[in-house]
Symmetry: D3
Amino acid sequence: MTAGGETAEDRVKAFTEFRQRMNERILGEDNQVIRRFFSLDTQTYRAGALDVKTKELLGLVASMVLRCDDCIAYHVGQCREAGVNRDEFFEAFSVALVVGGSIVIPHLRRAVDFLDRLESAAEPAPAAHSHDAA
Amino acid sequence: MTAGGETAEDRVKAFTEFRQRMNERILGEDNQVIRRFFSLDTQTYRAGALDVKTKELLGLVASMVLRCDDCIAYHVGQCREAGVNRDEFFEAFSVALVVGGSIVIPHLRRAVDFLDRLESAAEPAPAAHSHDAA
Amino acid sequence: MTAGGETAEDRVKAFTEFRQRMNERILGEDNQVIRRFFSLDTQTYRAGALDVKTKELLGLVASMVLRCDDCIAYHVGQCREAGVNRDEFFEAFSVALVVGGSIVIPHLRRAVDFLDRLESAAEPAPAAHSHDAA
Amino acid sequence: MTAGGETAEDRVKAFTEFRQRMNERILGEDNQVIRRFFSLDTQTYRAGALDVKTKELLGLVASMVLRCDDCIAYHVGQCREAGVNRDEFFEAFSVALVVGGSIVIPHLRRAVDFLDRLESAAEPAPAAHSHDAA
Amino acid sequence: MTAGGETAEDRVKAFTEFRQRMNERILGEDNQVIRRFFSLDTQTYRAGALDVKTKELLGLVASMVLRCDDCIAYHVGQCREAGVNRDEFFEAFSVALVVGGSIVIPHLRRAVDFLDRLESAAEPAPAAHSHDAA
Amino acid sequence: MTAGGETAEDRVKAFTEFRQRMNERILGEDNQVIRRFFSLDTQTYRAGALDVKTKELLGLVASMVLRCDDCIAYHVGQCREAGVNRDEFFEAFSVALVVGGSIVIPHLRRAVDFLDRLESAAEPAPAAHSHDAA
């Protein structure tokens, strides 16, 4: 694996680890409102009248127009797992850009960078796995 | 038709008329950037990798978290034409509410009120049409 | 009671009625995420480590810097019931104004107008109560 | 004068009167932070390294991207007094639209409507003045 | 002291130093509006009808819903000096979370991380002081 | 050149390189809405009824009140090329600060830091050029 690939994997990993560590810290506190909010947040994206893919796209575009990089990164990951393809990502990005304006552009850059990292981190994975299997 | 029905129809009509009159006024000005923006805005919601219904839902949720009542009313109307049903509307609303927080609630109230008005304005229409057909 | 007094009472009443009617409409829908959010919102302002008065002041200032008139009106009412006096209101307003900037000023005007209306609507109350007591 | 002309004049007047009445009410309170903020706000737009016209245009565009109708109306009026012409207004609007996105459009409509009202309220003025002079 | 403790102390220190250095740079410019704003900002949090602790909590929650990490870090520090305890912090956080929505969560994570760092930087301090005294 | 000068040059360079690389990546995708938006964004700041300097100042203040560091850095650079001097920068900053409130302060610090870096990166440039010419 190239150094670039490792870096991509590392950055995604660092983001995920900080996110997970602090969530545990927050949920470890004795504050029921915050705990219930976190639980409600998870429930929101479950399949219902709308499927998971549509809901994650809604979460992504909401995060982009509100310009929250961590939320964007999170929903880019969730959308990808829900099967959003590159053309669909860019159409969702285009809605966020037109609704939110040029102020969204720096977040669009980082969203695309994060998506690229996810893809470059993911692509070597099958090879690595078959290597493991070997 | 009841007075309540007329009021609902009237409010939707007043909103639509002001919107249309000012859009014409703005596009009548000799400013190419604004004209191109309006044209781009229309292009954004055309079917592509994502269908019109999904894109309008994205526009609706983006408008709700940015808390713009006129944008919400517009996208509620567009979503309805694209076939979004009441359960789907409320799931989209729930994403906007959880992402954007309680500050979204007053806009949620007005979104539901506008949706109710659209439905009560629309419901007499079939009767009117069958009357016309008579 | 003067016509001005009636108007103040009416406006506060119209706001409260629309709020209540739409809340019932929203909670009547079969959407558990939204219902749980509304319940969580109520729980948030209950006395705990911080008392109700402090929490309502936090809700008020958050609403002012996010510039949501209905939320501001609601928390002005709640703060008043929790015993916030006029000097305390204006100090909370001053924090919102300095954090949020001059863009908060139109909302400050409406907050003060709403507080004035609440007070002028409330003032006849003791008379009414002594009448009841009679 | 037509009924339309009177309405335009009336709406501008109603906005100005509420603004002035509430400002007096706010400055009448014994809160030095708020008073100093209002005084600082006035000082901000005085001529310095940048002239009044440029500063008012900055205030206008800031108000548009933050989507505050009253602030927009106020700065439209100030810009007009500082000599901003219609083409300049629309170029400033175009910057706000592109930076802030389609979410700015409803505020753009009301900004143009307010500018139209100011102009239609102002146009009869010379006639009125020559009448006064008669 | 562990490496982790040093890092926590270092990050808090780096934040404080950049803040202080740039404030001096800004106040060194000949711009009276900015200078007066900085002075007004300081005045806002002085004890008055509301005590310092309440005002700092208001500043903290306002900063959280507006999602400004540096402002949050600053007010977390000020609140801590004003005697806000951990349960009170989390109740203030819960108000910000419910008002501002899930978009606040990444800032909540960093707020808790900063609070942890402040505490871990502060705890060795008595030891360090007794060492100095030795 | 001092190490500090090199660092300043490096940071400006890193920002510019990421910006340029990701813009190419984004424009390389087959999404016409996004491409047209980027083209429209460029067109917005061309001289028209308002000159480039005024338009860039409008873009800068809009970016500051919306609190987008990358947009601020970009417009600080563009303003500087359009001839905005230090006093004019600080007056534009003061408008953004008063309109947007203390929440703008951390972005003001970074704007001033970026301006300082641009100036310290630029100052050695003539020497470097005369060296090249040698």
